[in-house]
Amino acid sequence: MRKPIAILVLLLSLGLAARAANFSVSLDRNTIRLGEEATLSLTFEGGQPSVVPEPTVAGLDFANPVSTQNSSDINGVMSFTVTISYAVVAHQAGGFTIPPMTTQIGGQRFTSRAIHLTVLKNDAPNEQEINSGLEPAFMKLTMPSKAIYAGEAVTCELDIYLRDDVQNYGNFQLTSTPTDGFSLGKSVEGRRFRAQVGSRVYTVIPLSLGLTALKAGPVTVGPFTGSVVVVLPEGGQQNQDPFFRSFFNQGTQKQVALSTEQLAVNSLPLPDPKPANFNGAIGTFTLNVSVGPTNLTVGDPLTVRVQIAGRGAFDSITLPDQSGLRDFRIFPPTTKTELTDKLGFEGTKTFEEIVTPQNNDIHKWPEFSFSYFDPENGQYHTLNQAAVPLLVSAAAAVPPPTLAGNKTTPQENQTPRDILPIKESVGPLEAVSVPLVFQTKFIALQSVPVLAFLAAFVWRKRADNLANNPRLRRQRAVAQLVRTGLTELRQLATDNKPDEFFALLFRLMQEQLGERLDCPATAITEAVVDERLNRPGASPQLQADLRELFQLCNQARYAPVRGTSELNSVAVLLERAVNELQALKT
């Protein structure tokens, strides 16, 4: 739709002279019957439209856009008119409104008015109207039977009647072919004939339509609707000789809407009981089975060809279940359907399957049976094919494969006559991938054991270093002792146990000073602090703090009991001194 519109815009762009610009939309008629066409015209006058609007209404089709151009020169003033026409077809009866459309011509904006289209229901003419001879054309739909079986393939007849004075006809089209509960198949036009209907003679064009019932229960066909354009003689020529009418090619065209009645059909369910191997085949069939070759070895291919010929719905014909044939490996069959009639209801369906016997105990291809339901007599029929004798011999022994290193075995000189047979199963699938050794992530993963070894190596070096350095060992032991001691001191302060507090305080000072001064902890006294800690790096404040702590320890042996807060402040003092001591270089 867009492409023709674009072409039309291009045509318009060839140049339109300015006169009084205008845009209008019109219908050739405002009332049509279902199946008839109306023509919608979009007319652009005096300029080039920047946009060609596209009509869109739900339930209406706007098809076959046609463009026409007119130009005129009146007193030196050029006038151009472009008209775009659409064939309007309705899907249903009712009232439709084609909304206003907007376009711009020469910078001016134009909006059309809304247009109403009434589509009347197209009822099939009744018997009296048909017999009156006033209908130039009509359709009739007939079914062979009012009762069919679900799955049955039937042919319905759609006859198109053209009155004897119709000089010509054309553009026949079916606009609606509803079939509720049927699948609509192929259609075939039959041989035309003439028939007397009421007071007039009609030419009958028969159409055969293939239908297959999809379900059991009430199903319907129709109403089919359509239209045909007929050429009728003009008013004064009705009684003229047909030879002269055709010779002078006179007459008027008339589009006639066609409609049929709706036919109700009762679709019957298939009766029970059904044969065990019935697979839904409905019709009338014959069976032919061929099997060959009949003399073969285990594993050789055996071709089984099953031909089912006759009339019916061939789509529903399948092979019976063969899962019970455990002695044969059965490959999926190929299917070929050859239809001999144009409706597709008659022909032959051939199944060809390759089977391979799995052992040499097999003596026959078993009996084959096929069941179908014949709707003509309402009965099931079973066709049987007798078993086919087979002569299956054991497979020749396959020479074992020659393996590397097997050269001394007697099989060395045995040359295999053929390659080893194919595998039955595809086995585990592998995607085509880059080998592991070329995958970056895989290579990177290999650094893990190296890193683990390096970590163990470093750990070992540190352990050895510690073992060979007693001062370092003492330093770490004292640091640990002081860490736990400070925690314990705070607890003693909280519990207000001054004796234990000062005893622990004194011991911690001895351990830390002994480690720093590299002398036994028991040798540490206040005098030692004065003598050996008087060196660069040890601040006077540190020395003063240590002295104070020693003095507090001494006083504690004689002084009265102190409170928790005072003990906590002493602990803080010790912590500060210890931190400064640990920062001193030994």
Binding site: A404, L436, A452
Partner: protein, 247 residues
């Protein structure tokens, strides 16, 4: 997101199963063609499965069988060799490959015992073998650091795995180098003329037949320079050969 993450593996698994089911059906159809004696059609069907990007030993094996039965020795050898890359110790592949090789006329490359023994493991198998030896070696070295008391008793074992790592690493290196090398050309046409240069008008040097395996020395545009193992060197157009990895 959590739902997505929950269903993603299920979807992937489902997709994988559907894909595998499709391959199974196509494989069965190709087997049927083979059983019917339609070897060329069967080979084409197997090739189409391979072109979908999957490989299996059985698929390549059957493909090779079908090509052999259809009279395409080169295609058969190429497929057998590819199957052998997946299952290097499969006796049926090796038996059929040797059988087909014996049908090949004219000069062809002979695999040395050294190369043959190297090919007992695939490249990935060599990789895994080497990596295991490598990991065990370093874990033993690490254990010796953590438990110095065990160093004496672990010494022999460590040396064993270290030497195993070096040996398998060497084999892996050769295998990987082969893989990265110019590869092997298998002649696909009934008869192909190796020329003195990479152009059609060049002088003919020697003639090879369908299925001949030739070592590729170098490549130039759409030509490969090949040697037949006896010292003859010539150029063949790519369209007449299948190029396989490895020597």
């Amino acid at each position: 997101m959590r739902t997505l993450l929950t269903f993603l593996p299920v979807s992937l698994l489902l997709a994988g199963n559907l894909f595998a089911a499709g391959v199974d059906d196509n494989f069965a159809a190709a087997n049927k063609l083979y059983a019917e004696g339609k070897f060329a059609a069967a080979a084409k069907a197997y090739d189409q499965i391979c072109q979908s990007g999957v490989r299996s030993t059985a698929l390549l094996f059957n493909d090779a069988n079908a090509h052999f039965k259809a009279g395409n020795l080169g295609q058969a050898i190429a497929a057998y060799r590819e199957a052998a890359l997946l299952s290097p110790r499969n006796p049926e592949i090796n038996a059929n490959l040797e059988f087909v090789r014996k049908q090949v006329q004219g000069p062809t490359l002979h695999v040395s015992h050294w190369a043959g023994s190297l090919n007992l493991l695939s490249l990935n198998e060599w990789t895994v073998f080497t990596v295991i030896a490598f990991w065990v070696t370093f874990l033993l070295l690490g254990l010796r650091q953590l438990r110095p008391a065990l160093a004496g008793s672990l010494k022999t074992l460590t040396w064993f795995f270290a030497l195993l790592t070096i040996a398998s690493g060497g084999a892996l290196g050769v295998h990987a180098a082969n893989h990265l090398s110019n590869g092997t050309a298998v002649v696909l046409s009934a008869e192909a003329t190796a020329r003195s240069g990479p152009w059609e008008e060049a002088q003919s040097v020697f003639t090879v037949h369908d299925g001949a395996e030739l070592s590729i020395a170098t490549r130039h545009d759409d030509w490969v320079q090949v040697t037949d193992g006896t010292g003859k060197i010539g150029w063949l157009p790519n369209r007449l050969v299948a190029i396989l990895p490895g020597a």
